[in-house]
Amino acid sequence: MLTGQQTWTFANKPVIISTGTVGGPFEAEGNIAEDFDLLHPDLYMEQDSFEKAHKVLLEKASQQAIDKAGLTKEQIQFFLAGDLINQITPTSFSAKTLGTPYLGLFGACSTSMAGLALSAFLVNASGANYVLTGASSHNAAVEKQFRYPTEYGGQKPPTAQWTVTGAGTALLSNSGQGPVVTSATIGKVIDMGLNDPFNMGGAMAPAAVDTIEAHLNDLNLEPSYYDLIITGDLGKIGRKISLDLFEKNGTNIPDENYVDCGLTIYRKEQHVNAGASGAGCSAVVTYGHFLNRMKRGELNRILVVATGALLSPLTTQQKESIPCIAHAVAIESGGETTP
């Protein structure tokens, strides 16, 4: 149901009945390694190219979610997912393996919440019983596409972010046990004219602020309604900028209730400059770490705001600025729901 300008509320409370999270070797050394279902010790995942490994990431994460729910892949009606690689081939190729009806999504690093919002909408409107959604990224495959060859010696400035190797999936259903999706706000594309591809956090911050404020306005909520407001991958710089923007706009968001997936996934000693990013970042941290915390009862209501920078190497080279987007999805811990 449309509430306000750009927010859906889900009366039938779609349930996230299971999740799957897969990571790579760098994530295994990270801060939330125990929240992963599967960690690969090898960046190649026994494949012969990074792109093929990227595909395997999402395949395994999908399989995990389906197995954990005690279902078979034939029971899944739709698969909504995306990644960052040209024509989202890793996702499409794993959809081929899965054999499920599939809609490919692209929202850069905001794909995870775009997928979750749409899946919840489908389930809420009785368009499906089971929908699988997910997002993934592979550090080396993304570096190869967006920046330089992985072995090239280019110095990254302290504003740069590290792409996560990982895939996170969530399986939504109209019944079952687990956290429920209560509302979602679809963001507008915001472009404030920043054009440094090595400072994505700074470019994405206004989009996150815009979507969060729209969400709170549409639902007439105070920020304190949520235990945590979780941004996708603003990193150190983007987080600071967005907090200052909130203050400027008079939105009262407490520092301690405002966290970032890109700052959660790795330890301080892992040199990732301003933090983590990538389509897989918000997916694995939300579906792994934060949903686990909800299950343990540490959190009751969270708002996940995945942020995406909608650029390509081509637009950067043609001196275009970086358009950005953010989608917010509210997840609340729910008991048993029955249709």
Binding site: L43, N139, E143, T150
Partner: protein
């Protein structure tokens, strides 16, 4: 003594590159292209050769020497054959850098996989 000056001069050329990275916010591609053009210009004014005499590898190892030796090769051939030598002599002195990069690039591609 030569080692000391190779260190200092080579190091300083790299500092110029670093300043172009950090202050002018140029990509490595832009920075290196500009340095090569600077090397070519310096040789055009006859200033790069004395620097090589003074600092040895400190001047021949940085990428600026690529521009220098392109001009040098062209000028040498031009002395003998006139204008056409500018074209034919271009790679006379710089073939080794490009050749070895191609050869070791191929060998590297055969032997190694990217580590990520």
């Amino acid at each position: 003594m030569m080692f000391f000056w190779a260190f200092v001069v080579g190091g300083l050329i790299c500092v110029i590159g670093q300043l172009m990275f950090d202050i002018l916010k140029l990509t490595p591609g832009h920075t290196l292209s500009i340095l090569v053009v600077i090397g070519a210009l310096l040789d055009g004014f006859g200033l790069y050769e004395p620097l090589i005499d003074f600092a040895g590898a400190g001047a021949t190892v940085p990428i600026t020497s690529f521009g220098n030796s392109l001009v040098h090769g062209a000028m040498q051939e031009a002395d003998q054959h006139g204008l056409i030598g500018v074209v034919t002599g271009m790679f006379e002195m710089t073939s080794s850098g490009i050749t070895s990069a191609i050869i070791f690039g191929m060998i590297g591609a055969i032997l190694f996989k990217p580590k990520g």
